[in-house]
């Protein structure tokens, strides 16, 4: 079974909100150099979903990870390898920058075709920069395969069929789909595994395959291939006027807080 996982290098979404600075000229946010980029957390869980299938039926399965961007930091994008993925393909070129979901999904779909026959594609449910959540469905539409989004459990059942638990508002749906199919993975899947020392060693020796736009046959990509236009990117100003209630003891402060809510007619 061939599985492909799409992973994105992103600004660290867990970093303090104050680390996010506006780069207005390039219509993007940036973080200071000491805040290291990470693999988009949902994408790590997508790797985890593929590895759980590989765990069950080891030698037969291959997991190939594809990452798209520019100036990709090797020990960030290699993390899926250190978790247990087999191959890494980087779509790396300045031309890939500034794309929207349409540009990114188009390039990833072209790369997936070049990687070869596949049974399952995994993506995170959304990436933590634009929070768009469109790339997975987009790849599936371009490749003409079914998609199931926001999965919390993925199992291969008989004959290449896949059983997916899809998170919905008040519970989950259980769906069955015939592969090849694309699944997007949500945090409800549970935490992604840590890299093992053996995995880190193996990953450090592994050279990723690097493809340019011409290698995957896309002539227009990144900002030049956008369907949507950014009119404006801005940081809303927060007023921050919290009334901190303090007292001699924390318990008194708690009691005083309740009184304050009454005075202000909140309760």
């Amino acid at each position: 079974m061939n599985m492909i996982v799409c992973c994105k290098q992103v600004l660290d979404p867990e970093a303090a909100p104050s680390t996010f600075k506006l780069d207005a000229a390039n219509n993007r946010m940036v973080q200071p150099p000491e805040v290291k980029p990470v693999v988009n957390p949902y994408d790590e869980q997508a790797v985890e979903a593929a590895l759980r299938i590989k765990d069950k039926d080891k030698p037969a399965h291959k997991v190939t990870v594809i990452s798209l961007g520019n100036n990709l930091i090797r020990d960030v994008v290699k993390k899926p390898l250190s978790m247990g993925a087999d191959e890494l393909v980087l779509l790396e070129d300045p031309a890939f920058e500034g794309g929207d979901s349409f540009a990114v999904a188009t390039a990833l779909a072209a790369a997936i075709k070049k990687v070869g026959p596949f049974d399952l594609i995994f993506c995170g449910r959304q990436e933590s920069e634009w929070d768009d959540g469109q790339v997975g469905s987009g790849i599936a539409e371009i490749l003409g395969i079914p998609s199931v989004t926001v999965a919390k459990k993925v199992d291969v059942v008989d004959g290449g069929k896949v059983r997916v638990e899809r998170v919905v508002a008040d519970g989950f749906q259980v769906l069955e789909v015939q592969g090849p199919a694309l699944i997007t993975v949500s945090n409800e899947l549970g935490e992604a595994r840590y890299a093992t020392l053996k995995g880190i060693m193996a990953a450090s020796k592994k050279q990723p395959t690097v493809w340019k736009p011409a290698d995957i046959g896309v002539d227009k990509t990144g900002a030049a291939a956008r369907k949507s236009k950014i009119v404006k990117l801005f940081q809303p100003v927060k007023e921050g006027k919290c009334d901190i209630v303090s007292a001699d003891s924390p318990a008194e402060a708690g009691s005083l807080l309740a009184q304050k809510l009454r005075e202000n007619k909140v309760i």
């Binding site: 069955e176 708690g254 009691s255």
Partner: protein
């Protein structure tokens, strides 16, 4: 698609009732419809639409298209895509609005890629540019650390709207409107996934989305117990519901269905009490619409204090019992 006209709201129906998100979408759509001087239409896709069509007219729709089929009982990408592809071809809307819900999140991108147009997800505000007649869509990005305005000249423009971002119009049962059956053949060869079952993870008591007071706990609670004891006690006194930020859900302390945040529930209660919650942007995306946010956290630097109206810096184990006791006394 130069002749495309009007707004098409993709409504949601459960057990024959129009869901609140649809009235919110119709409220947001009415503005666009007024600005464009073009009709506001709605499509309802379900096994049984029932009185929801009339409710959609009362909520602002000029015309409601009703697609009923036993296979449309549960949402599934392929069946809903069959309906939406025909709807785009026959109704030819300029703008398509969906909720940022389990349905809209899945359907909007798939439809946009099929049509070769752009979808803007999770919008807070929509507006029409008078000169170009194109829709501008404002949405949070970078986990809520910034906002962006998007547009596209590819028609139809598709947008999903966040829960509570649109304001419903006052329902007008006397308003005129047309209900039309919109039949779509369910081509079995195009349906590639099957819903085997739908499992409801019901939470006892008041639903989070409907509660006027929500008491939520975060990583700082340290385990599952406080959610069923201290937080539940306070919620009960306030006749509210218990919620959580993401870490307690990821740690399986509480069911995923009570997660509040960008990828969980979006709520806007009168009172939101955040206990042991740091207040990441992702979490605040789910509760920033609350009328009054109250924070209890031992870290004075926690971001939640930038968002809250009232707060106490201290260990919840000491602060909360005293707070709850006083609340009980005051509301009784």
């Amino acid at each position: 698609m130069a002749d495309n006209k009007g707004i098409l709201v993709v409504g949601e129906v459960a057990e024959g009732k129009l869901l609140p998100i649809t009235a919110e979408l119709l409220g947001a759509g009415k503005q666009l419809s007024n600005d464009l001087k073009e009709p506001l239409n709605c499509i309802l896709i379900s096994d049984k639409v029932g009185d929801a069509a009339k409710a959609a007219i009362a909520a602002g729709a000029d015309k409601v298209f009703v697609t009923e089929d036993a296979q449309l009982k549960d949402y599934q990408t392929d069946t809903f895509m069959l309906v939406m592809e025909k709807a785009v071809a026959d109704i030819a809307p300029r703008v398509i609005l969906m909720g940022q819900t389990s349905i809209g999140r899945d359907l909007a991108p798939r439809l946009a890629f099929k049509l070769g147009v752009s979808a803007v997800m999770d919008c807070l505000e929509l507006g029409i540019d008078g000169a170009t007649k194109l829709m501008n869509c404002t949405r949070p990005v970078y986990g809520g650390n910034a906002k962006a305005v998007f547009t596209s000249d590819a028609v139809p423009q598709i947008a999903t709207v966040r829960a509570k971002a649109g304001t419903p119009l006052p329902p007008d049962a006397a308003k005129a409107g047309e209900v039309a059956a919109f039949a779509v053949a369910m081509d079995a060869s195009k349906i590639r996934a099957k819903v085997l079952e739908t499992v409801k993870e019901e939470v006892a008591g008041i639903k989070l989305e409907d509660a006027s007071a929500v008491v939520a706990g975060g990583r700082g609670m340290g385990g599952p117990e406080p959610f069923s004891k201290e937080l539940a006690d306070l919620a009960k006194i306030l006749k509210g519901a218990v919620g959580a930020s993401r870490p307690p859900c990821d740690n399986k302390w509480v069911p995923d269905s009570i997660q509040i945040g960008l990828t969980g529930k979006i709520i806007a209660p009168e009172l939101y009490i955040a206990v042991g919650i740091s207040g990441s942007s992702q979490h605040m995306s789910g509760c920033a619409g609350s009328k009054c946010i109250v924070a209890i956290n031992k870290d004075p630097e926690a971001n939640i204090f930038k968002e809250a109206r009232f707060g106490v810096v201290g260990d919840w184990k000491v602060v909360l019992p005293a707070f709850t006791a006083k609340i009980k006394e005051l509301v009784s």
